[in-house]
Symmetry: C2
Subunit: 113 residues, 2 copies
């Protein structure tokens, strides 16, 4: 995964562990793609301070991922979900009751896994 996209995902996952100001700045930088100058103006924070916050929080988010592996788990669960859905499509059922169960199962898996 490209580093910028990876950081954007990490902000979504671990953003709550940052302070509100840190989270805002990280969101503006990684999710809204604003420049340091734009973020500096928007948040009334010096460009240097914005730069330092992004650098410090980048490191923090990577450390959280190294400890909790939530992004890794999220990616794994996407694969698990697709694998189950693919298996379901390979099943050969003919009675209406089983067909209905399969359809409900697929919807349930898409919504909950």
């Amino acid at each position: 995964m490209e580093e910028r996209i990876q950081l954007s995902v990490l902000v979504d996952i671990y953003g709550e562990l940052l302070t509100e100001k840190q989270r805002d700045i990280m969101n503006l930088y990684y999710n809204d793609d604003l420049s340091l100058a734009e973020i500096s103006e928007l948040t009334s924070t010096s460009r240097q301070a914005v730069h330092d916050i992004i650098k410090r929080c980048h490191k923090l988010l990577v450390q959280y991922e190294e400890k909790l592996h939530l992004m890794e788990t999220k990616l794994k669960m996407e694969k698990v979900k697709n694998s189950i859905l693919n298996s379901i499509d390979l099943l050969n059922v003919s009675d209406d009751k089983s067909l209905k169960i399969l359809l409900e199962m697929k919807k349930y898996i898409i919504d909950n896994v």
Copy 2:
């Protein structure tokens, strides 16, 4: 869930976010059920310091759960897993190929969800 069990689960989930000493003491208290006096002796830490660490980390772990909801998600996924497995058991398949897929699916779900 009883509070002591809940804390034991939170130590397992968020333990990596504590320092090694904090994690050791929380494990001895919540997972190994040792008394403050026993932990104090084992870790060469005063009884008062052990008490303070447990109190502070208890609060920290609850805050992590309020922010990341990993215990809540884990409990939810257990329900989702059981629900999918139950649905699979309700399916009526007769051909060998589908039966084989169902068996593999169940094993895969048990191992990965």
